[in-house]
């Protein structure tokens, strides 16, 4: 009985260790489509998004078609960090000559 016990249990341990290493994610999550959490749901990120300084999760990715999302990049999500917003009262400068 001891031999059977040792065989079954060692097989379980070896198999689980091998499976854990075999299924270890070896890809860079940023290569997958990125999503951001807008407070109610997950939205695809904009083309020019950026992750600003912060300790929260900036973007997420999904492996099961949107059933669950896993964190990817750290920071605060910004839709377009390089965009300059034109204020309505700002004087208009005509650069065309």
């Amino acid at each position: 009985m001891k031999k059977i016990k040792a065989t079954i249990l060692s097989l379980a341990v070896v198999f689980s260790v091998c499976a854990a290493f075999a299924t270890k994610p070896h890809w860079d999550c940023t290569t997958l489509p990125q999503y951001w959490f807008n407070g109610t749901g997950y939205q695809p990120v904009s083309q020019f998004y950026g992750c600003m300084q912060g300790s929260t999760t900036c973007t997420f990715y999904t492996l099961n078609g949107g059933i669950t999302y896993s964190p990817c990049a750290v920071g605060t999500y910004n839709n377009c960090p390089s965009c300059t917003v034109e204020t309505p009262n700002a004087p208009h400068i005509n650069t065309a000559h």
């Binding site: 249990l9 341990v13 198999f15 499976a19 994610p25």
Partner: protein, 153 residues
């Protein structure tokens, strides 16, 4: 008796398989696991504790299931842990939280929440079977030992 013992070993092996795999997957991708825990609807101040407590508990249960002396404790711990995970899955399926990113390791995170619930229920079931068989076995051993003692008197 022999069949029951083999069944007990198989149940232990299945639980060891689950807990070793789940804990090792968390340790191997610790950064992601940490971030996933941070995104759970629990206070973020708990994260540094939970990221160590959960996988270490899983390893401890696996070790306790290997040895005969601690096996009953292992089955009870497994029942409690899997019961808690099942309740959590049930709460998620009831849409109690606005969002819940999965916080499990390896391929288990690819399951849907319903599949997750059934997996958890299966392991709760086999933990109960393990507790029952192991308890009966203990009682049988105790009664045999007391009979042997009495026969010497």
């Amino acid at each position: 008796m022999f069949k029951r013992q083999v069944l007990l070993e198989c149940i232990s092996a299945l639980l060891i398989l689950l807990f070793v795999y789940a804990s090792l997957s968390k340790f191997l991708d610790f950064r992601t696991f940490y971030k996933e825990m941070d995104n759970q609807p629990l206070p973020n101040s708990w994260t540094p504790v939970l990221v160590w407590v959960i996988p270490c508990t899983e390893v401890a249960i696996s070790v306790s299931l290997i040895f005969e002396r601690t096996r009953l404790l292992g089955f009870y711990s497994s029942l409690i842990v899997m019961g808690l995970f099942t309740i959590y899955t049930g709460i998620v399926l009831a849409h109690f939280f606005p969002y819940v990113p999965c916080s499990c390791g390896g391929v288990i995170k690819r399951l849907t929440w319903t599949q997750h619930l059934f997996l958890n229920l299966f392991f709760v079931g086999i933990s109960i079977v393990g507790v029952v068989i192991q308890t009966r076995k203990r009682f049988t051993q105790i009664s045999v030992n007391s009979k042997n003692k009495n026969s010497f008197v």
